[in-house]
């Protein structure tokens, strides 16, 4: 579990995160959503320690991350995996070497044991026969899967995903969402996903935090989001007529009044 308490972060005069508090729950996909510039990336970077917050507290399973010494943070970071927007794979290393890197750095396993573990996680993310390929030789979706494999190879307790669907086609996005959701449940991780992909919100949003201009505007889950009265959230989530139709349809479905032909009811 990750607790965020009254977090604030500014760059010069510009307040980017303003008194945000939330609890990211274990075994769930916790989504931070919001428009570009709403502060969600800065919030995530504060959570993983790439930015230092101006005030407030971040607690990992009750331990204050903000108050930790660098050495303590280093130890905690070995329990954190992160999938970056651009995958952040090491260009000069093969898929296998990329995934093996955390094992090389932080374990004393033999090469055979490390290779076994690498093959297990690559298998888990449905990536076979790509071990010897370089990042430049694989597709965007495959890169994301390698990124997930690298992030989970040390069995982390916390998984962070920064816009995991950016640059992917809708079908591959669904595959990546499903994969993240499955590994979250399987390894009982606290997963924090930064996204503005509406499919992700509706499909895997166990817990959703909506950010607007640096503040937490709304919090709930993918069932509750349909009934939200927040105008800002509705304007953001159901921005197009198509999405408004989807919302109305979902509401009717929930009330047992699905339109004819959709589920066979008359």
């Amino acid at each position: 579990m990750i607790e965020i308490k009254d977090l604030k972060k500014s760059f010069g005069d510009k307040v980017v995160i303003n008194s945000v508090s939330a609890v990211m729950e274990t075994g769930k996909a916790n989504l931070i959503i919001g428009a570009s510039g709403s502060g969600k990336t800065v919030l995530m970077k504060c959570l993983v320690g790439l930015f230092e917050p101006d005030s407030g507290e971040i607690l990992y399973s009750g331990h204050s991350f903000t108050g930790m010494e660098e050495e303590e943070r280093k130890e905690l970071r070995q329990q954190i995996g992160m999938l970056f927007q651009g995958s952040a794979l090491f260009d000069s290393q093969t898929v296998e070497q990329n995934v093996m890197f955390p094992l090389d750095m932080f374990t004393r396993l033999s090469y055979a044991e490390k290779l076994k573990k690498v093959n297990e996680v690559l298998d888990r993310v449905n990536l076979k026969d790509a071990n010897k390929k370089f990042p430049a030789e694989i597709s965007g979706g495959m890169k994301k899967r390698v990124g997930i494999a690298r992030a989970i190879v040390l069995n982390p307790k916390y998984l962070f995903c920064d816009e995991p669907n950016s640059g992917l086609d809708p079908q591959t996005s669904l595959v990546i969402d499903k994969l993240i959701y499955e590994v979250t449940r399987e390894f009982n991780m606290t997963t924090v996903i930064n996204t503005h992909d509406m499919n992700s919100v509706m499909e895997i949003g166990d817990h959703i935090v909506y950010m607007h201009q640096g503040e937490k505007e709304w919090e709930g889950n993918n069932k509750q989001i349909i009934y939200s009265k927040s105008k800002k959230l509705n304007d953001f989530i159901f921005a197009s007529e198509f999405l408004q139709d989807v919302k109305e349809m979902r509401m009717r479905e929930a009330e047992g009044k699905a339109p004819n032909g959709k589920n066979g009811s008359h």
Binding site: L50, K74, M82, A88, D91, M105
Partner: protein
């Protein structure tokens, strides 16, 4: 950002490199990789530059020494001292500032922009220690070796050009080479090599590590790194000569 901001951040970067490695074996592997990149990767250009600089020095020295009162072996003495004192360390290192410096700046810049450095940080790796320290250590190991190779090849190139052009015989050149030789000149060249090695590796590492933006900024950082390194090499060259000679 003004000069003092850059200087302060540069000093903090250097200070930040001194932590206990997370895994000695991985750091050793990275050091060996950098030694190969910096040393073997630059050997070709160093050989070519050294040979031609030595050859041109012999021809131009002979061109200027027109008096019959000066023995021809003096040409070898002049070539030897200019190659050891200046050409081998300074010219080689200015060339290396271009070759190695731009590579270091662009490699780190690309890693920064594509979030590879952030990925390492989140794993709990001190990126200054893991990415910059091996480059500086590898430069300390390989650049003095390259300077020694450049010195030897420069003098040999001078001997070759002198004899091929009929300016002086090999015996005259060898005689001049051994007369009035000061071993301190070699020590001085190595002082320069170590100083320049630090400049060539740390300044481009600074510009690459802190790059912000995209491909355009990586290119700019690489150019700035090479220019700043060359200026610092020339400045350090003067300071060392003023202090030690």
């Amino acid at each position: 950002m003004n000069f003092f901001n850059h200087f302060g951040r540069y000093i903090l970067m250097i200070k930040g490199m001194f932590t206990k490695p997370e895994n000695w074996r991985m750091y050793w592997k990275e050091l060996m990789h950098q030694c190969s990149d910096i040393g073997i990767g630059s050997l070709g250009i160093v050989v070519v530059v050294a040979l031609f600089i030595g050859a041109v020095s012999t021809l131009q020295t002979a061109y200027q020494l027109v008096s019959n009162l000066i023995p021809k072996s003096t040409i070898a003495q002049i070539v030897r001292d200019t190659v050891i004192l200046e050409f081998a360390p300074t010219i080689t290192c200015i060339v290396l500032a271009g070759v190695v410096g731009s590579k270091i700046a662009s490699e780190l810049g690309n890693m920064r922009v594509s979030e590879q450095i952030d990925a390492l940080e989140i794993m709990g790796i001190n990126t200054k220690a893991y990415l910059i320290m091996p480059k500086i250590l590898a430069s300390f190991i390989m650049i003095p070796l390259l300077v020694i190779i450049a010195g030897v090849l420069g003098i040999w190139g001078g001997r070759l050009a002198g004899t091929m052009a009929g300016i002086l015989s090999p015996e005259e050149f060898d005689g001049g080479l051994l007369s009035g030789f000061l071993p301190f000149n070699v020590t001085f060249a190595l002082y320069k090599a170590y100083t320049f090695a630090f400049i060539i590796s740390s300044i481009p590492a600074y510009f690459g590590y802190f790059v912000q933006g995209g491909a355009l900024e990586i290119g700019k950082a690489s150019t700035t790194a090479v220019v700043a390194s060359c200026i610092m090499i020339l400045f350090a060259d003067y300071v060392l000569a003023a202090l030690l000679l």
